[in-house]
């Protein structure tokens, strides 16, 4: 593979190559711009922001906005900063991601290795859950959660996220497992492994790449959700709702530097996940999900 791409690259010529690098860098700048604006303005004193250039480096560097956003900014009646909400988000995201990924993996396993009459129909129906706009489900979801006694609780929120996540996770795992040799499952059956043993011992150990895709996808989606968090979070509101409370406060001086610091804080986990696991993401996509 290396040989061929090198061939094409070489024959592209020096000028074309410089042009490509230039274009790639230009796009990198475009993508980084909002992050730069947020970052640079989160370490300026407020006066410098209101009077100055949004792109300029700070004249006075300060970490106060970060400290304030994290632990002292007013969120509701309490000057708690975003800190407690961070924990709320974690308590919600971790189980929701874990459950939806595991359920998706099991579904993908059944839909490819234990096929039955009408399985594609079942899958097709499940897939539609990926495409439903969330605003539509708000009211009926509230009714169901109320009936279940889960309204305003963390388990309720986890349930909601799992329900609208399994379409995606099932899709990912199904496409990935479709390429996994069915003979291995048969061999394991003859070896005496049961349904779960095969899953646990044979398929799960090789599911790394797609699990990364599924986890990244679910993690970012759930972490970034605002609508469900605000509506069903009750007293354990997630980070996004707190950030919104910080940024959207109706009156008073807008402390933009604190807002930006808070925004970056709220985005740190997802940024971390993307930058650290990003390369596995492309690899995972290659491993199956793009094949459709």
């Amino acid at each position: 593979m290396a040989a061929v791409t090198q061939d094409t690259a070489v024959s592209m010529g020096r000028i074309a190559r410089v042009f490509i690098y230039l274009l790639l860098l230009l796009f990198a700048l475009f993508y980084l711009l909002p992050l730069y604006v947020m970052g640079i303005n989160s370490v300026k004193p407020l006066a410098e922001i209101t009077g100055g250039n949004m792109m300029a480096l700070p004249q006075v560097w300060t970490l106060d906005p970060w400290r304030s956003a994290w632990s002292t900014a007013q969120i509701g009646v309490e000057p708690t900063g975003l800190k407690p909400y961070f924990l709320n988000s974690i308590l919600m995201v971790v189980p929701a991601v874990a459950i939806s990924t595991i359920v998706g993996a099991l579904n993908g396993y059944v839909l490819t290795k234990w096929r039955f009459r009408g399985d594609t129909w079942v899958f097709g129906l499940m897939l539609f859950s990926c495409f439903i706009p969330f605003q539509i489900v708000l009211i009926p979801m509230a009714m169901v959660l109320g009936k279940l006694g889960l309204a305003g609780t963390v388990p309720g929120l986890v349930l909601v996220h799992v329900v609208y996540g399994i379409g995606f996770t099932t899709l990912y795992f199904r496409n990935y497992y479709a390429a996994f040799p069915t003979e291995l499952v048969r061999a394991a059956q003859i070896d005496g492994a049961g349904f779960f043993q095969i899953f646990w011992r044979i398929l799960l150990p090789v599911s790394g790449p797609i699990a990364v895709v599924s986890v990244i996808w679910q993690f970012t989606n759930i972490w970034n959700d605002f609508l469900f968090g605000a509506s069903f979070g009750g007293t354990s509101q997630p980070m996004t709702v707190a950030l919104n409370n910080l940024v959207q406060s109706s009156t008073g001086v807008k402390e933009y530097n604190v807002h930006f610091a808070g925004a970056i804080l709220a985005a740190l986990p997802t940024l971390f996940v993307y930058f650290v696991a990003g390369r596995y993401f492309v690899r995972g996509l290659m491993a199956g999900s793009v094949k459709g």
Binding site: R186, A193, Q197, R201
Partner: protein, 370 residues
């Protein structure tokens, strides 16, 4: 009652029957090969023996126990797959003992069985590697080792050599044959390669379109194919099938056919029962090795018929030379000695061993003689 009994087994997907009333009894220690083109139902049958697919009708018994509905792991069978189906996340050793582990065999015993088999297959040095680090031949051995460790009643092989290159395939074929002779286990082996079938088996079941076309020893299958399909499927190059008419000359049946130039020729049959077919069209089947140069003709044969014919193409293959000619309007191949002096366009005197000739009914395609 055999060791492995397949009784009137049928497989249907909804309305579509893909396997029709298969009936085979396999004796202990037998090496049965299921051979046929792809889609003939041979793998389905194997999977049904393994328990990987359900049985629509009929029954399968192993050692007298009907196993319909019994879980694959409880049939005491082992299977070697086409792709070897080695678990990529486990080492060779773990792969081989996984089945024992699943059956609750204690670790010490597993290790002993593993050591024995690894030694037998000469893969002791590979036990800590992952399948990804093995060559094709090594994987093949590991796959067999995994089956052997289980010490099953019946071994099932699903086209185990088809992923190997030509040279390795021949080596492994010999290896499997040796192993069978040494261990005397009962084997059911699926392949689409008729040479594998011929060399390995003690008995062959030739399958096509969901039917067993013929069940017999390799010699029976080769010499007296039950029908046109078996005749042409088994053997390479394939048996020559030549349209002819039976003609009685002095009460003895002859095959009347035309040579490359359209001139009529007569070849005397050895099979007297063909007299009943006097004046009717038949298909004459002659294997390439039964058409030779006169010096290369089978000296033990009691019925060598001369046949002068024009040569179309010669193909020297080192050990033999294959000669193509036209007979009865179709191409026919003769297998000559390598040094036979024959060239294209020339008329040459061939010797036809009519003792080996087979005749088929053009309508039913069934064998009518011998």
């Amino acid at each position: 009652m055999g060791f492995l009994d397949i009784r009137n087994v049928t497989k249907a997907y909804g309305q579509v029957e893909v396997l029709h009333r298969v009936d085979i009894a396999v004796e202990e220690g037998e090496f049965l090969v299921l051979v046929g083109p792809s889609g003939c139902g041979k793998s389905t049958l194997l999977n049904m023996i393994a328990g990987l697919e359900g049985i629509s009708a009929g029954e399968i018994a192993i050692k007298g126990r009907v196993v319909n509905g019994v879980h694959p792991s409880k049939r005491n069978i082992a299977m070697v797959f086409q792709s070897y189906a080695l678990y990529p996340n486990m080492t060779v050793g773990q792969n081989m003992t996984f089945g024992l582990e699943m059956h609750g065999v204690p670790k010490a015993e597993r290790d002993r069985a593993l050591a024995d088999v690894a030694k037998l297959l000469q893969i002791d040095h590979l036990l800590d590697r992952k399948p990804g680090q093995l060559s094709g031949g090594q994987r093949q051995r590991v796959a067999m080792g995994r089956a052997l460790v289980r010490n099953p009643d019946v071994f099932l092989f699903d086209e185990p050599l088809s992923n190997l290159d030509a040279k390795l395939r021949v080596d492994m074929r010999t290896e499997i044959k040796k192993l069978h002779q040494k261990l005397k286990t009962t084997i059911v082996y699926v392949t689409h390669d008729q040479i594998e079938a011929m060399t390995l088996s003690t008995r062959i079941a030739v399958m096509n379109k969901g039917f067993v076309q013929q069940l017999g020893t390799p010699k029976e299958i080769y010499d007296t194919p039950a029908n046109l399909f078996v005749a042409t499927f088994m053997g390479s190059p394939a048996m020559n099938i030549i349209p002819a008419r039976v003609k009685l000359v002095d009460g003895v049946p002859h095959a009347a056919l035309t040579d490359a130039d359209g001139a009529p020729r007569l070849l005397r049959f050895s099979q007297a029962n063909l007299a009943a077919w006097d004046g009717r069209d038949i298909l004459l089947g002659i294997r390439p090795e039964a058409i030779t140069d006169p010096e290369g003709a089978d000296r033990k044969s009691g019925n060598i018929q001369p046949l002068a014919n024009r040569v179309t193409v010669t193909e020297p293959a080192g050990s033999d030379t294959f000669v193509t000619m036209t007979l009865g309007g179709r191409d026919a191949i003769a297998r000559m000695r390598a040094d036979a002096a024959v060239s294209a366009g020339q008329i040459y005197e061939f010797a036809v061993n009519m003792e080996k000739a087979v005749a088929f009914d053009p309508a039913t395609e069934g064998r009518i003689a011998p």
